[in-house]
Amino acid sequence: MVAPAPIVEMKNIGKRFGGIHAVENVSVELRPGEVVGVLGHNGAGKSCLMKILSGAMNRTDGTIMVNGEEVALANPIEARHCGIETIYQSLALADHLDAPANLFLGRELKTRFGTLDDKRMEMEARQALRQLNPNFKNITDTVLNMSGGQRQVIAIARAIYFNARVVIMDEPTAALGPSETAMVAELIEKLREQGIGIFLISHDLNDVFDLCDRVMVMKNGQNVGTHAIDEVTKDDLLNLIILGKLPDNWSPRNLVAS
């Protein structure tokens, strides 16, 4: 089978703060419907790399191609225009607004008089949220009163509603209980079915093995290895995360098994 063309290609990305290399010469690509795990210690540069892709931070070196075209990604709005949406760890939601207001924050639907079209926003939000979670009730409650899982659904719905092609998820399950974690896993599966590519930053190796197709491990700002998930074991990944390399006698797991 011919692999589909990548949606995102990041080539030789670098980010320097003065003399310090936060990210150095990192290349990675993402295909439609693919989930790529981004692993590494705190400070390994994974969040920095993802901020570069989401437009929240500017790179000092390298090129980024989206659908084969080179893009600057100077700010989050430009990244969005390229179909790149980010779901932040802190779940960038405004607590005192309700679900529709949060979903459309910064991109409000307006009537022809230029006023807010709350009716349509509520209707659209209801539809988008029900698609992800049929049990979603009280969408006009302030987000403050919602559970971590419901907040996650709003954040993901926001990405899907605006036709994201690429979703960056930063620790989406870190603050959730087991049942809500399972729900997020289901959501990721739905995104994948729609052909959306996902970068998943995670510290939880179980999540990574459950959800990802490929993993990329970063250490000291560098990419120390990109592997298909079925060719590595947990120990291999821990080796990469901690030591930055695989054992000398390493061979892909799937080859060993067969």
């Binding site: 989050p76 932040y88 405004a94 607590d95 607004l97 924050l105 910064g106 991109r107 307006k110 807010l116």
Partner: protein, 352 residues
């Protein structure tokens, strides 16, 4: 439900309808209703108590006085509410109103037409607000410090420009905005003196109502209003969602300055004198009105209608206590207690 329909229903029907309406609301909407009615109820209670304790309180004349007294608190309070919603604070409004009023007064003295001088006064207020916004968003100073600085600068400027003396003899036309009323009807009595048939709606009250409606509309129906709530609720999230946080804050401080400018010209027009010492401590009344009306100093929560109720609570309290001969010292103590009590109740409600 229209008032007419209520009157055609029996008591039980009304109760049933209310129960149904209530059951359709979610937790937040219910809290909101309770909060709104609590504020309105305490306002009613104040009116009832003062009507009983003082003969002069419940009269058309006094209602007019109270409304006029409310205008300056409300005009400033509306602007300050917008700033507080973004999570900021504006301490400069009392001084800015003095600067705006004196600028208008001095320009009239200088031979400018009244309307142009007054427009310049309002513009002065707006410029002060924009400077506040600039210091907060670009120089990244805490709103408390930025507006504290402006409070001193504007007051100093007003005193310097006038040599600390009131600017008087501005002509009768200067006083129309503050002292005139709409639909005022007089008839000439048998003794040849005019008799007031309908006192009319004073222009300041009219301006207060119109401004309240405009700002409430902006907050509820326009994207910039939604962004004001969002920025106060979670600034980081708003920025990441693509909201222009700086211009949102700029808008809020400019609105507050604009409202202080309006308040300045209305107040000076009422006195027919431009007083550089007018409006000292008014910023605290304005903030108190917002807070009594349920605006959270943390940002993201509050309404213009709440602030209006808060402004009326303060001015009715003052007026009623005056009518009952309570000394101004005791009045301060009572209003202080009311502020603490109101915020504590709000705090309890949110902690539930």
């Amino acid at each position: 439900m229209s008032g007419e329909r209520i009157s055609t229903c029996s008591d039980a029907e009304v109760k049933g309808r209310f129960a149904r309406l209530w059951s359709h609301m979610n937790g937040d909407e219910r809290k909101d209703v309770v909060q709104k009615f609590a504020a309105v109820f305490s306002l009613m209670a104040l009116i009832v108590v003062f009507s009983v304790t003082s003969d002069a309180f419940f009269s058309v004349g006094n209602a007019m006085t109270v409304s006029l007294q409310t205008t300056s608190i409300a005009l400033l309070g509306i602007g300050v509410t917008v700033v507080i919603l973004t999570g900021g604070i504006d301490l400069s409004v009392g001084s800015v109103l003095a600067l705006s009023g004196t600028v208008a007064g001095l320009l009239v003295k200088d031979g400018w037409p009244i309307w142009a001088a007054m427009s310049m006064g309002v513009l002065t207020g707006m410029v002060c607000g924009c400077i506040n916004g600039f210091v907060v968003t670009r120089l990244r100073l805490a709103p408390f410090i930025a507006t504290l600085g402006m409070m001193l600068i504007a007051r100093g400027l007003a005193l310097q420009l006038t040599g600390a003396a009131p600017v008087s003899q501005l002509g009768e036309a200067f006083g129309v905005l503050g002292n005139g009323s709409l639909f005022r009807t007089l008839s000439v009595g048998a003794n040849g003196l005019p008799k007031v048939i309908f006192p009319g709606i004073p222009y300041p009250v009219l301006i207060m109502i119109v401004m309240a409606i405009i700002v409430a509309f902006i907050l509820r129906r326009l994207a910039i209003g939604r962004h004001i709530y969002a920025v106060g609720s979670n600034e980081q999230a708003s920025r990441l969602a693509g909201v222009n946080v700086n211009s949102t804050k700029m808008f809020a401080y400019a609105t507050s300055g604009f409202m202080a400018g309006i308040c300045g010209i209305v107040l000076m027009s009422r006195l027919v004198t431009a007083q550089p010492n007018e409006g000292i401590m008014y910023e605290l009344d304005a903030i108190a009105a917002a807070v009594i009306g349920g605006t959270s100093l943390m940002g993201g929560v509050g309404t213009i209608s709440g602030t209006m109720i808060g402004a009326f609570v303060i001015s009715i309290l003052r007026n009623g206590l005056n009518m009952n001969g309570v000394s101004s010292f005791i009045q301060q103590i009572i209003i202080g207690c009311v502020i603490i009590g109101a915020v504590y109740i709000d705090h309890l409600r949110n902690r539930r």
